[in-house]
Symmetry: C2
Subunit: 180 residues, 2 copies
């Protein structure tokens, strides 16, 4: 995996991809599938909508750390299986043969096979809406991942991958964030 400038974090979250969020409590790592995410500013703050019904949630709030990983099409079935299992009863890494790599600034692991991994610190939790506010610390790009189409959960059990690309940079020049 290769480190990218942290400003690129936005480009992995703003398109609304399916994500796999790893955590690490005192004993072991866990991973959950989350598609309720949003970019919220130009200072690498993003949010996840989740809550205590999610087993990883406790580790997330206690350790204040996670890695938001971005799976591509090769990982889609695995991502759905991760979402259907609970870390309370299953070691998802073992059961689904997930490969992990050590992160740089947090204890939660980077997930192999993903397009990118964003190391994050939990900076706030808005309990009334289950909103976890994250500061992205650094961005890893997986250079071995060939199919880098982002996945989008429709919410009804179907998913789409990125298709046609459009470049409107000339029209948007005046408003593009620096570094992108």
């Amino acid at each position: 995996m290769k480190l990218l400038p942290v400003e690129t974090a936005l480009t992995f979250i703003e398109p609304g991809p399916l994500t796999l969020v790893t955590t690490f409590d005192a004993k072991k790592p866990n991973v959950m599938t989350i598609s309720w995410t949003a970019a919220i500013d130009f200072n690498q703050h993003i949010l996840l909508a989740t809550g205590p019904w999610n087993y990883s949630f406790n580790a997330l709030i206690k350790t204040k750390e996670c890695v938001v990983c971005i799976p591509g099409p090769a990982m889609l079935k695995t991502a759905v299986k991760i979402g259907m299992l609970s870390g309370q009863t299953t070691d998802k890494f073992q059961k689904l043969h997930l490969k992990t790599y050590p992160a740089q600034q947090v204890k939660a692991p980077l997930l192999g096979g993903c397009i990118a991994c964003l190391e994050c610190r939990v900076t706030d939790y808005i309990a009334s809406y289950g909103l976890v506010i994250l500061q992205v610390l650094c961005v890893w790009k997986n250079e071995r991942c060939r199919d880098t189409r982002l996945l989008h959960a429709v919410g009804d059990g179907t998913f789409t991958a990125d298709g046609e690309k459009f470049c409107l940079r000339p029209l948007m020049k005046a408003k593009l964030p620096p570094g992108l």
Copy 2:
């Protein structure tokens, strides 16, 4: 436009599309381009990340109403132009020849040419993060829109449209929300 069950609201927001949000203050409608959105629960609550720098924001907070419209590829250039203009100095509807239709429950208009339009009520505003919490009231589907691929803003001036579709409903059966 045809009314869909409100439970379908999730399927237009969870995939992370570019949106066009219309408002209506005492005098006139306005529209802004927003790609920082998220689904946050299964009761048709969604959020937008925005703030007072956005001219429409005042109408949004004052009237507590808006319509979240979902443009397809045919509307992409228009969506970018909407994002580059300010309603403070420009009547975007006139300048960009936007067609509108009356909504059912709010004063903000439905936007012609979009894939779908979600009438929403503002139920809360979390000022510290610029998060506007919306309750979707009803969902309109534009039956005349042929190219219904959702658009995803990458954040760097490029966009992607939905491509390959994957159905994982059998694997997710136990967790699919009712009605979807």
